[in-house]
């Protein structure tokens, strides 16, 4: 609401980020295709605009919603109004892209593919940006941020279960591979979390050792730095020989699934990449413990172990957790590569899709990977903030 009638006209003010959002939305709504129609899954597609892709009433309705939401973003409007605009726009996009799938697919045709096109993705991006901006300005507590994440996940889950998106190409790809999707998914998560767990089990003591023994520090961190710079495919290649040797020469190793290719080298590579962030953040975290607190702990008669677990570790914890967050997000992304050497994971769909030039199949692997990484980042950020608030170290 304007501050009041002034007689000099209405005082219109633009929102800086809103200008960008409105421009992006306008481009996507009027110039970019909303959906792509293809006669089968690998032929080039034909673009459809919003009005072409949707039934007579839904098309203009979506246009109206997009235009109103973009205008709300463009001007300085109350936060709650902006929140409502972004949520309504995103919900309309999510629902109507499914409607477009049904509308564009000829009845009874199982070969035709309808997929969201650039206009849809750009609109989603624009209004997600608006939503993210509103949520930042609301400065939600960590708990509330996780709650928003859960609400979004539940909404997407309901849409998936309800079948509203079933006529979209990515879900048709899913329908053909439902069993292997969940198998590869659990393999993906196991790889990412398992290698993280192993890196924490090894990296934490190594970090503590580096902190206590000055001479070790530079050496260990340099070696880990060098490992970090080896390209993942090269690292897989380098691991084939030693792991193959272990499989044939160590009794029981092969039975555990250790082989030159497959899950074992992928796991080892992810583990090696994870070590640097864990060790480095442990060292930095422990080094950041106030000297006076450490001196007092010793002076009052804590043993080395009591000091480590009672003082140093709790104070370094938020920094170490930051390292774990980096590793988790990095591993969820990197685990995609494991498919290259038969390690499984969502990467299987990505590489199959690339091989068949079936972009929908690539998306079936890529979208859940991005969603997992995004969710992991939000949850761990919230946890870090919760542990850090009570342990704030005074700057004096």
């Amino acid at each position: 609401m304007p501050d009041g009638p002034t007689g000099e006209g209405v005082n219109i003010r633009f929102d800086k980020l809103g200008v960008v959002i409105a421009a992006i939305a306008a481009y996507a709504a009027f110039l970019a295709p909303f959906a792509t129609f293809r006669a089968n899954r690998i032929v080039p597609g034909q673009a459809r605009s919003i009005l072409e892709a949707l039934p007579a009433t839904a098309g203009p309705l979506l246009m109206a919603i997009v235009i109103v939401a973009a205008l709300i973003a463009l001007f300085r409007t109350p936060l709650m109004l902006r929140l409502a605009a972004s949520v309504v726009a995103l919900a309309a996009l999510a629902l109507l892209v499914g409607v477009a799938g049904t509308f564009l697919t000829p009845a009874g045709n199982t070969f035709a593919r309808v997929s969201p096109a650039s206009g849809f993705w750009i609109l989603v991006f624009a209004f997600t940006l608006l939503l993210a901006d509103v949520l930042t300005r609301l400065s939600l507590s960590p708990r509330d941020r996780v709650a928003v994440l859960v609400a979004a996940a539940v909404a997407i889950g309901l849409l998936l279960v309800s079948g509203a998106w079933n006529d979209l190409s990515i879900l048709k790809e899913y329908a053909n591979r439902a069993d292997s999707f969940w198998a590869e998914g659990s393999k993906h998560v196991t790889l990412a979390l398992g290698s993280l767990l192993a890196a924490v089990v090894v990296g934490l003591p190594l970090g503590i050792l580096c902190h206590r023994v000055q001479r070790l520090r530079a050496g260990v961190l340099n070696v880990l730095n060098i490992i970090q710079t080896i390209p993942s495919i090269a690292l897989f290649g380098l691991l084939i020989a030693p792991l193959g040797w272990v499989a044939t020469h160590v009794p029981g190793a092969a039975a555990l699934g250790i082989r030159g290719i497959g899950t074992a080298p992928a796991f080892v590579a992810l583990f090696l990449y994870s070590l640097l962030p864990v060790v480095a953040n442990t060292v930095v975290g422990l080094a950041g413990v106030p000297r006076a607190a450490n001196d007092a702990a010793r002076g009052m008669g804590m043993t080395d172990r009591q000091r480590l677990f009672g003082v140093e570790f709790p104070l370094a914890f938020p920094v170490i957790l930051t390292g774990i967050r980096i590793v988790l997000v990095q591993n969820i992304g990197l685990a995609t590569i494991a498919a290259l050497i038969g390690g499984g994971g969502f990467g299987v769909f990505v590489f199959q899709g690339v091989g068949q030039t079936a972009m929908d199949l690539v998306l079936l692997g890529a979208v859940p990977t991005v969603a997992l990484a995004f969710a992991a980042a939000i949850i761990l950020d919230a946890v870090i903030e919760m542990t850090a608030t009570k342990r704030r170290v005074e700057t004096a």
Binding site: A293, N294, A296, A297, R298, G299, M300, G301
Partner: protein, 312 residues
């Protein structure tokens, strides 16, 4: 009683503490003064074995301080440092309870002791107990630091520049609090400082250190009157000597028979304060009153000036 016998600490070729011997009587305050790098902190840290000496013996009440493991020894000795060293992730009550918890005291006993100390230090246990150190002022943090050091009722308290980070007004208050608590618990205190003013004010005896050596160990009046070397003399400060000497005495010890005009000064005040008051108001004499408010007599400028002169 703390007996330090021929204590030496060498790092490679540098001798930080060089053959120091001294005895600290029970229930007294010994202040170690010196410039930075004089070895005073190292000497202090060898008493609770945060630093192990290269040579020499330290005995606490007759027992060699190496007869128990270092961490056990340290639990029996209070330790307070500059910048307090409170644990930022623990509440005030948890901080104070540190050593009792290490010693395995029962919950109720710990709670009672924490409440007692906080009350003693004018911090309401209900209000301040659950707070975190960063929510306290500098003076409050310092008080919690000393309360924590005293939590397990140690006979000996080591303090390394405990008031160094405080502003002058809070520092004076903290010094008075410490003197009161030392009287109450009869704790033997060894305090390291570079501030001669603090040393004269707090110490029953003062140990002056220079380049690792103990240059002089004597009562404050003796240090002021007969500095053992030019270094001690510089540290005392030639222009400050008479006033520091006066600050050691109480007004009641300088009372003369007679009457004077104006507001009376309490007998507990230092002679230095009395002289300052006389000089500032331009009067030759001040009336003195006892703790009960009864007149005791008067102090005169002439009388105080005689007392400020170098003792024979």
């Amino acid at each position: 009683m703390i007996e330090i016998e021929g204590i030496t600490k060498r790092y490679d070729t540098t001798t930080v503490v060089d053959d120091v011997s001294m005895v600290i009587e029970p229930r007294t305050i010994a202040v170690i003064v010196g410039t930075s790098g004089s070895g005073k902190t190292t000497l202090l840290r060898m008493i609770n074995r945060l630093v192990e000496p290269t040579a020499g013996i330290i005995k606490l009440d007759g027992a060699d301080n190496r007869s128990v493991p270092g961490y056990e020894l340290r639990r029996s000795i209070g330790y307070a440092i500059q910048g307090h060293g409170l644990f930022p992730h623990r509440t005030v009550a948890q901080n104070i309870a540190t050593v009792p918890v290490l010693l395995g005291w029962g919950k109720d006993r710990i709670q009672a002791r924490v409440d007692e100390l906080m009350t003693l230090y004018q911090l309401d246990p209900k209000e301040f107990g659950p707070r975190y150190p960063h929510e306290l002022s500098g003076g409050q943090q310092q008080r919690v630091g000393v309360a924590r050091a005293l939590a397990a009722e140690p006979n000996v308290l080591l303090m390394d520049e405990p008031f160094g980070a405080l502003d002058p007004i809070i520092r004076t208050k903290a010094q008075e609090d410490l003197l009161a608590i030392q009287k109450r618990f009869g704790t033997t205190i060894i305090l390291v400082t570079h501030d001669m003013e603090e040393a004269v004010h707090m110490g029953d005896k003062i140990a002056v250190m220079d380049a690792g050596k103990l240059v002089q160990y004597a009562k404050p009046a003796e240090i002021l009157a007969n500095p053992a070397s030019s270094f001690v003399e510089t540290l005392v400060g030639a222009s400050e000597r008479p006033f520091r000497l006066l600050s050691l005495g109480r007004v009641r010890d300088a009372v003369e028979i007679g009457a004077a005009e104006g507001e009376a000064i309490p007998g507990d005040a230092s002679q230095r304060d009395a002289l300052a008051e006389l000089l500032w108001t331009g009067r030759p004499a001040l009336p003195v009153k006892g703790a009960d408010g009864k007149p005791l007599g008067r102090v005169t400028v002439d009388g105080l000036i005689k007392r400020a002169a170098r003792p024979a």
